[in-house]
Every structure is written in structure tokens, then in C-alpha cells.
């Protein structure tokens, strides 16, 4: 197609990728320092860093400022199950899965009022969750629930809410309908550092709106997952009649 563009950094990325995937450099191991690698490949540090950026974007390498570049442990792909609004049971049962939840009361503002269809300033319970699988951050969630629907009790390790949060499941009253919007984007700086991914690594976002039988919104959840670790699956049973509705 197009002429081959000389790009030393891609060659280097290819070489390092091979060394990683063939096991010559093992998961968790630290790569030689960037200065060393630059020397070895006879390139400038800038070029070498571009090569590492490629691998970081692929989720193969994790950079830690002041410590070095590390080969990421390969992770089984986690499944977020749509409709259920939960990580798949197998994943959620993982013993190494730790979740940190921070709860706060906030007032609805801006986007939140639109999402929850509440008036500006309405009291909401905000749950900030971060889920780790072993060392690696695995997902972020910010869940908003109208204050009057919030289950009583603290979100400590023993509460059922904590259990639900572990699975990123819908909190609050059982919903009658769930609407989930999935999108792909780059992480915000906050998300990038929280998830320990590059600023260019794609994240899979899911905005989940749960409504009860009366149509009232009982929960809005903003979920963010590293793109290389999480897929979202949605299953639909179609009545043959349903297909007629579509024009």
C-alpha cells in the first residue's frame, strides 16, 4: 500500500515485544533502564521511549516513574455482563479481587442532573470504587444513588452493598430496566494514574442507568475499565414479534 516509513522505534518495539511474548523477559520483571536500552539499540532516549510507549499502549509494559519499566502480568480478560450489571460470577468470585469503596454525599450538579433526571442540588450518595485484581487496578466506578433510596448502613467490608460493589453490580432498589451505553476513549489523567495505564491507552466506559417500575431512576453508574483487560458482553433474546417493531 504505502511505502515503508522508516521508524526505528517500531522495530525496537517489535523486538521487545518478541522478547516479552516469547518469555525471554518474564512477567513482573523489570526491563533494563531506558538509558541502557537506548545504548543497546544505538538510539536516543526519545526514540527508545517512543518504542516503550507503543508497548505501553498495548498493555505489555507498565511504566513506574522512578522505578523502571515492568512487563505486565498477562491478565485473563474480565467480562462485564450487561443487563445484569455485574462482572461475570467467575471473575467476581476471584479471591484476589479487592475493592476499595469511598462513600460521600454530594449535591447533583451539571451532568449528574441530566443523567439522574433530578433537579440541581438534589442530595445524592456517591460511591467511588476502585477494584484491584492482585496488584493491578482493574476498574473504576462512580455510582450515584438518590439520597432517599440509599440503603442504610455503612459500606464496610461486611455489608451487602460492599459485596455488590465488588461486582460493580447495581446498588439500591432492584431495577426494572437497565440502559447501558458503552464507549471507547482515552483516560483522563486521573484515570490513567489510578488504573496505571498510559495516557493513550484506550479505556472502555459504560454509563449505566437503572430505573424502577415507575420509571424513576434509582441509580446512575459511571464505569471505566482498562481496554486491554475488560470486555463487556450483552445478550439479547429476541421474540420474533419484537423484530416487527423496527420500521
Amino acid at each position: 500500500m504505502t511505502g515503508a516509513v522508516p521508524s526505528r522505534h517500531k522495530d525496537i518495539a517489535d523486538d521487545l515485544r518478541n522478547q516479552i511474548t516469547t518469555g525471554r523477559i518474564r512477567p513482573g520483571e523489570r526491563l533494563p533502564s531506558e538509558a541502557d536500552l537506548a545504548d543497546r539499540y544505538r538510539v536516543s532516549t526519545v526514540t527508545l521511549r517512543r518504542a516503550l510507549a507503543v508497548l505501553q499502549g498495548e498493555g505489555l509494559v507498565e511504566k513506574i516513574h522512578g522505578k523502571g519499566n515492568f512487563v505486565r502480568r498477562p491478565h485473563r480478560k474480565i467480562m462485564y455482563v450487561g443487563g445484569w450489571g455485574t462482572l461475570d460470577p467467575w471473575t467476581a468470585a476471584e479471591p484476589a479481587l479487592r475493592v476499595t469503596v469511598r462513600s460521600a454525599t454530594v449535591q447533583a450538579h451539571g451532568h449528574l442532573t441530566t443523567l439522574l433526571k433530578v433537579s440541581e442540588g438534589s442530595p445524592l450518595t456517591e460511591l467511588s470504587c476502585i477494584s484491584h485484581a492482585g496488584e493491578s487496578p482493574q476498574g473504576l466506578a462512580r455510582i450515584y444513588i438518590p439520597r432517599d433510596l440509599t440503603p442504610v448502613g455503612d459500606f464496610d467490608d461486611t455489608s451487602s452493598c460492599w459485596e455488590a460493589a465488588t461486582r460493580f453490580a447495581v446498588l439500591g432498589p432492584p431495577p426494572a430496566a437497565v440502559r447501558e451505553t458503552a464507549y471507547a476513549r482515552t483516560p483522563t489523567p486521573d484515570e490513567a494514574s489510578a488504573l496505571r495505564i498510559g495516557h493513550a491507552a484506550p479505556v472502555l466506559g459504560i454509563t449505566r442507568i437503572a430505573t424502577d417500575a415507575t420509571g424513576r431512576i434509582v441509580e446512575a453508574a459511571l464505569l471505566v475499565f482498562p481496554g486491554d483487560r475488560v470486555d463487556a458482553v450483552f445478550a439479547t433474546q429476541l421474540m420474533t414479534d419484537e423484530r416487527q417493531i423496527q420500521a
Copy 2:
């Protein structure tokens, strides 16, 4: 939280972003050359290019080698509707929406055999679709249908299949169930050039498997959308009983 890291390129990106979003630089317009901008901001070309890379990742700027940096025309977010397996009707009705379909007969191999649960070498019809909204590529689709289920007739502009492809809808016999997996990743080089996005711009991918009442897979579709232009929405009605199924 963390100390402010000096990063001139982010400041520049912020400034340019403001100029774009406030309309001081208009959609379709060409930015000053990188050399000019580097001069104006008193930075090196490398730093300025990092700033532009940020904006490109956000989908605000399109770089064209040898021509310049252009402000991308803002696009309404397109909705892919899960379950229905189609772009939303409003979008699909867009008159400016053009679709190019190329059909071929291929033999199942590798991943395809797993996806479609057919044996190696089974004949499949492959439809390669690319959808444009005006100038901008908007989505790619590769759809696979078992040869014996393929509707007869060519996929010309007048066929109903072409109409369905326009909406990225499920082809072949009406399915009884659809399973869609959504993921976020960076584009392959092919996808990046076909969609005219950067190699680091996130894409939203959807793998769609449609099965008939007997459980036979009647279609597998691999859809790829630019992350900044397409969202996917999935709606679920929950019977109260359904919630019990979950352990």
C-alpha cells in the same frame, strides 16, 4: 494530589483546544504549520507535536502528511443500538450516509471457526462494509454468514441486504438471540487509515453473534467504530424473577 508536573505541551494543547472549541479556529480550517506554531509558543517542534498529538487523540485535529493539521468537523455522536443490531434509525436515515459493500466467498479459518462454530474450511460469505457520513468514515464492518444461509442476489444498491448493511443490521435469517461483546482498543494500521484516525485514537469494537432458534449461528459480525464518534447503547428489561437467577 500529585505535584504539578511541568508540561508545556499540555498547556499548548489546552490553548489550542480553547481556540477550537470557542470557534476561533473553525472546523475544516487548517492550523498554522507546526514550525509556525512552535515559533509562536516558543517551543521546539517535538514539544509542539506532542501537543497536537493530544488533540488528535481527542479527535479534534486531523493530521495530513504534507498538507497540514486540520480542525475536524464535529460530528454528532452516532448510536449503535445493541440487540437490534443496528445504528439508530435516525442515524441510519441520514441521507448523507454512504456505504460501500464488498462481498466475497471465503473459507472459515482460525478465529472464524471459533466464532461461527463451524469446521475449518466451511464456505462463508464475507461482507466488508465501510460507512461514510459525508467525508468522514464512520464505521467498518466485516460480516460473516454461512454460505448456505446467504440470501440470494447481489449486494447492489437496491437490494434489501444493502439496506440492512447500511444500518450495520443483522443479515441472514432473523435471529432468535444476539450476543454482543464490546471492547476498546487501538486500531490496527489498516483500520487507522480506513477510518482516518490516529494510531493511538481508541476504537469501539463490537463482536456480534446471532443465533437462530435451534442455536445455530447465522451471522458473525466484527464492527469497528471511531471511539469519538460512536457510542453503543444496550437496553434491558428485567423481569423481577430474572434477578433470582443470578447466584
